[in-house]
């Protein structure tokens, strides 16, 4: 297997982008990444794009070829493939691109992730997202993701004494980080009190425990590591890539407070990188709801199971803590255009490892981890990256 590096990144602002179309967003992120990598169309061997539900959000399927077209590459007839795995679609696209280079088939691959979610109303967006749960056993009976994650949260509270205040502190921390991310949907701090008092969505998750409905796109250019220096002085190597699956429905799991898919994907990535959780300097984790970040830091092995809430209290995961988590603002503050999220996490890792993250730069960042989840944990992808 060949080593693979990121040689270019591109991001649109995340938010309610009423005046930008689906194709404008993907073209903006893609062209930024291509310019950043200083490559040309003829250099590109393949395109992969992650999107969860472009068909239901903007009535557009068949977006692999569309991405090639809006990038101005139709005449080059580049192989273009769309990848879907709910909210993990973006990192699945990264992994497909990664595998195609590692295998020796491709040298340079552009990966995109996109979702434009605001063109439908809030309740329809909730319904569309619920299609990533088990339709027969969950969505059909009215379960939505806030409700499903609320069940995880109440069980976590029951088992381990996690408090609503600890959940709220996750949102406060991620908003504090989002302040320093010019691409974030929310660039303003929020108070603990406002999170605690926010409109209840599904106990214990209030409105501010939930990531927003967002529009946005992200893109990275992957390259065989041996050729990366040809394009950039600062290639960032993917040293571990793991993926795992689990039951779609929450009730099928061994333990509803543990995402076994995270444990298995992380194990695969750590093994490949020959690292342990202690070696990770910072991480982007999938905080679609505040409880999800607490589960993630436990299941990734950073914190003992059940101690995630205490870790938040002890400020281990703040910018100044021993393991900064979600320096970008996470899904909560940066925004969560579902198909773009996994790619945007790789963009954040790359910017941190290039030492280009500005005010949110993690000091001496050497090794970063990205963790992207589909549904309530049926799909998980973990990547570990290091500066070359």
């Amino acid at each position: 297997m060949r080593d693979v590096a990121v040689i270019g990144v591109g991001l649109t602002k995340f938010g309610e982008l009423w005046d930008k179309s689906f194709r404008q967003l993907i073209a903006e992120a893609g062209s930024k990444a291509i310019l950043d990598a200083k490559i040309e169309g003829k250099d590109i061997d393949a395109l992969y794009v992650g999107s969860m539900s472009s068909g239901r959000f903007v009535d557009q399927e068949h977006i692999g070829a569309l991405v090639a077209e809006v990038s101005g590459f139709s005449h080059l007839h580049i192989p273009a493939t769309r990848v879907e795995g709910a909210c993990a679609s973006g990192s699945l696209a990264i992994r497909e691109g990664y595998l195609s280079i590692a295998s020796g088939i491709n040298d340079v691959v552009v990966v995109g992730g996109i979702e434009k979610m605001n063109d439908v109303g809030g309740s329809e967006a909730t319904d569309i997202l619920a299609a990533a749960s088990d339709q027969e056993w969950e969505a059909f009976f009215g379960a939505t993701f806030p409700g499903i994650y609320a069940m995880i949260a109440t069980r976590h509270m029951h088992e381990y004494g996690t408090t609503k205040e600890q959940l709220a502190q996750v949102a406060v921390k991620n908003h504090a980080n989002g302040v320093n991310n010019p691409y974030a949907q929310y660039q303003s701090p929020i108070s603990l009190e406002s999170v605690m008092r926010a409109t209840m969505v599904a106990y214990p998750l209030g409105l501010m425990d939930c990531s927003p409905v967002s529009d946005g796109a992200a893109s990275v250019v992957l390259c065989a590591a041996e050729k990366a220096k040809k394009y950039t002085d600062k290639p960032i190597k993917i040293i571990g890539s793991g993926q795992a699956s689990d039951t779609l429905a929450l009730h099928g799991r061994r333990d509803i407070c543990t995402l076994d898919a995270t444990i298995h994907a992380a194990k695969m990535a750590y093994k490949q990188a020959n690292l342990t959780p202690k070696d990770i300097d910072f991480a982007e984790v999938h905080d679609c709801f505040t409880i999800a970040e607490i589960c993630a830091i436990e299941d990734l092995g950073f914190i003992e199971k059940g101690k995630g809430g205490t870790a938040i209290d002890n400020k281990i995961t703040t910018m100044d803590g021993s393991l900064p988590v979600n320096t970008s603002g996470g899904l909560k503050a940066k925004g969560h255009p579902v198909g773009a999220t996994g790619v945007a996490q790789i963009v954040e890792l790359t910017m941190q490892l290039r030492n280009e993250a500005g005010k949110r730069q993690v000091k001496d960042a050497k090794i970063g981890l990205a963790h992207n989840v589909g549904g309530s944990g049926a799909t998980c992808v973990v990547h570990i990256m290091e500066a070359m």
């Binding site: 309610e16 605001n118 109303g121 809030g122 008092r197 209840m200």
Partner: protein
Amino acid sequence: MEELGIVSYGAHIPRYRIKAEVIAKVWGKDGDAISRGLGIFEKSVPSVDQDTATIAVEAIRHALKRCTINPQEIGAIYVGSESHPYAVKPTGTIVGEAIGATPDLMVADYEFACKAGTAAIQTCFGFVKAGMIKYGVAIGADTSQAAPGDALEYSASAGGAAFIIGKTNVIATINHTLSYTTDTPDFWRRAEMKYPSHGGRFTGEPAYFKHIMNCANNLMTTACTKPQDYTYAIFHQPNGKFPVNVAKKLGFTMDQVKQGLMVPYIGNTYSGASMIGLASVLDVAKPGDRIFMTSYGSGAGSDGFDMTVTENIKRLARQKAPSVAELVADKEYVDYGVYSKMTNLLFLE
């Protein structure tokens, strides 16, 4: 400069009110949080025998009480509403007959969501300016609808205001008026649908804020004015937050806005909203005061008005009709059951 503008005005607000917390309780919501979020504490409720026509008639009768105009000198009546009692058959003819202005009269009903009434002011302004009529009546009135449980239920209310436009004894000259209009589907009600639909958060930045900001800035450019030049500023008020935010963004202060901000205690009277705000300002205005108003109608557009109060306002018998403050204060609370009956949520017809 020729004086052309508002000659008299009147408002009407149904006296029944329901508190936001009462509605919230029915739906299992936190009334305090909703009131804080929307900036609305209670809203007016039309009685079973009140509709847009009766509200329009009450408002213009109040306007006529304040002046000495012979209704036969009124050459046009335009009624703006999104809740005309009939789908086909005008509200304006009912108003014309009720005040004795028929039959030598131009009449039409207008609809442009919440700004149909200010569009009527512009029409009357044009006719008077052209010399085609002596007086024109522009009315904005609504008994707005909201589906039970919808976010709009906390705001959709009833009320209206009427303005007589002419060149004689003008109390406030209309110095400039213009509009900013695009096709933006943020809020709509299709034919034969009982309740409106809306685009949720899309009704904010790309709809309300974009149109009002552009209209307001274009108006100040045309009039060569700045926010500080105005004594009062009135903005369309679908809730208590939007008008305050847009005022801040444009550089107006709360001191300029508060006299025309009625929504916290009567809700959103739709076509009546900015016009009741203007009536409230005229209740207290003094000669020389300059008034800025931008309405907003979903769909979408904003009408802007730059006005100056004249010496004539001292001679207008303002006290002969109830002020907006008096109409707001004259109230009786109803519970959700009575509210359901009055707004026909029970489909009794």
